[in-house]
């Protein structure tokens, strides 16, 4: 992402071609990401079908309040990043920078709330492989629920972390004046990535927090 103004890298004919390539590259990358998460969702589907009772019981362990809060935080962050892109498109700068800072802070908040949840799990001893003290006939299958919950949320959290770093970088570049209403591709594709992070959570949340709770 070296070009800062409407200059373009030497392999491209012009800036328009570069923009098209960068955007399309990110979309292709997002397709890959969907397959990454797809494995975890497929495993969830298989095990939920195999062990419905254990998974329902596992679902009841997750914290509905904190989970809802995380969802609200992340959805809001998607809104702020979209506004930041819009502001740049309209020729803004200061506003866009603060919106990006806000998005990054919301991302950090999401991770922090998740940390609270993980700590509660640790105290309740439902972290497989670290501290898991469930007993009873459902315990082995319930362990599967938590394994998938942890792999999925940690992998998602990794994406949130990368996203936060990316957005902070973009905020810095906006402040430096790297982008204009004509040239903002890096910002746009970072926002695209952030929306993916958000959308994945929109699937994680109902599957692990809502389904089979009652």
């Amino acid at each position: 992402m070296s070009p800062t103004t409407t200059r373009h890298a030497e392999q491209f004919d012009d800036a328009a071609q570069q923009r098209e390539a960068a955007t399309f590259g990110m979309w292709t990358f997002l397709a890959t990401e969907i397959l990454f998460f797809g494995v975890l969702f497929a495993a969830y589907t298989v095990f939920r079908t195999l062990w419905p009772d254990a998974f329902a019981s596992g679902s009841r362990h997750t914290d509905l309040l904190l989970g809802s809060l995380e969802t609200a935080v992340l959805l809001t962050s998607s809104f702020t990043v979209a506004l930041a892109v819009r502001d740049i498109q309209l020729g803004g700068r200061a506003m866009a920078m603060w919106l990006l800072v806000a998005t990054a802070i919301l991302g950090v908040a999401f991770l922090a709330i998740h940390g609270v949840e993980y700590y509660a799990d640790y105290k309740a001893a439902v972290i497989p492989g670290i501290r898991y003290e469930e007993v009873g006939s459902l315990a082995p299958a319930k362990q599967l629920f938590f394994v998938l919950y942890y792999v999925t949320t940690l992998f998602h959290g990794l994406h949130v972390t990368i996203g936060v770093l990316l957005l902070a970088l973009m905020a810095r570049r906006v402040r430096r004046g790297d982008f204009s209403a004509d040239e903002y591709t890096p910002l746009e594709i970072s926002a695209l990535y952030w929306h993916l992070v958000d959308i994945v959570w929109v699937f994680v949340f109902p599957l692990y927090y809502l389904v089979g709770r009652s």
């Binding site: 071609q17 390539a21 990454f36 495993a43």
Partner: protein
Amino acid sequence: MTRAEHTPPSYLTDGNTLRSWLLTHDHKRIAILYAVSITFFFFLGGIAAALIRLELATPAGDLMSAETYNKTFTFHGVVMVWFFLIPSIPNTLGNFLLPLMIGARDVAFPRLNLFSWYLYVTAGLFTIACLLLGGVDTGWTFYTPFSTMFSNSHVMLTVVGVFIVGFSSILTGLNFIVTIHTMRTRGMTWFRLPLFVWSMYGVSLVMVLATPVLAMTLALIAAERLFGVGIFDPALGGDPLLFQHFFWFYSHPAVYIMVLPSMGVVSELITAGVRRRIFGYRFMVYSIIGIAVVGFLVWGHHMFVSGQSMYAGIVFSILSFIVAVPSAIKVFNWTATLYKGDIAFGAPMIYALGFVGLFMVGGLTGLFLAAVALDVNLTDTYFVVAHFHYIMVGGAVMAYLGGIHFWWPKITGRLYSEAWARFAAILMFLGFNLTFFPQFLAGAEGMPRRYHEYPAQFALLNVLSSAGAALLAAAYLLPIGYFLWSLRYGAVAGPDPWGAKGLEWETASPPPTHNFDRPPIVNDGPYAYDDP
């Protein structure tokens, strides 16, 4: 032909330091980096294969222990699949030719391209570390729960290596897809793309969409081993079949990662050798995409005896028959292209014809294995081993070498010795058949795979096979010799020694760093050999 002095320096002379190679963004130099590293791994995997054939030359397990044998064939499989076959054509010929063939200066993301080579090398170091520390004995398939609960070998190291090399694949695929979509020169419409480019497009789709599934599955294996949790372990409520589904969801399409590029190469070789347009260009394109898509839906044919449901078996069987249709279309179209043609039997054409024949044998025996009732008898026998070696060695390696010969003058600017090249190609074809055809017979008689000893009744077939392997080894070593010779003593090739069509032949050999003096303009489809 004579544009020597006042042209820009070729990519080979544009910077002579090690640094200028290791930090290059030039797709052609990255292709060379890949070519050198995959050749290294090819011979490493080849040594393992030689040891296997040596052990199996006698019925008794006298050369190595069962455990060492397991590690040897695992190493052979892991190295050949992930460090040779999958990157072979896409990362060497693909990297070199794709931008040239579409008239671009480079791929869309040159730094990402270099980065994927470094990922490959890092992954390779993990695999070599694993070998030096004592190896891994799970087979290249890492079946659970053996790989997660029971194996005491270096599963983690290997899994990490394969995980990393997967990212190299994904990034290459991503780069190619974007390059083909956005970097085609003026007039290079989708249906004027050479079939090699189409095959790169198909293979990139598979790389980008299948490899993440493998990566995540391997991550789950690592989690299971590290934390003792039971995702795939039935004792802890997990499901080993789920592992097999995930694994083959990647690893069956991976077969097409190996063979689709070969089909692309062969289409170029055949048209240039017979100087004709390809027969049924559009159907060739549709069949590439058809294979890429349907290839995603047939993974269950690796699992007929695994305990998946009977209905799943039937569905996967039918889908596996369907995927043979586009493959057959390609074979028929190659044949039709050659029919009554004036064929020049240069080394590339010999490789191409070898590919078509061996791929056909591999494909037809694949139909045997796609039939559930037959597969139940043949699974885990040498019939399966022979079948996939016909596709992978007879198909992919033949096409890779054919392609290397065909584009060698373009890559190096020199001509190799045609007589030696023909001799090596024919020796390879004979050696290959002698190695693997007896394995069909041994497998049909019930010889199981993956044992270091076998009943004496299979001795003759195995001796033949081991003898064939020796011929094959010689045939693989020969090109190293005459290729190196050609670098110094070979005749200067000129831009287009074969009189072949395609944008890559319109620039100098070796091409300048940015490929073309000015962006080429295309106004006809590929293989326009009928044009004056």
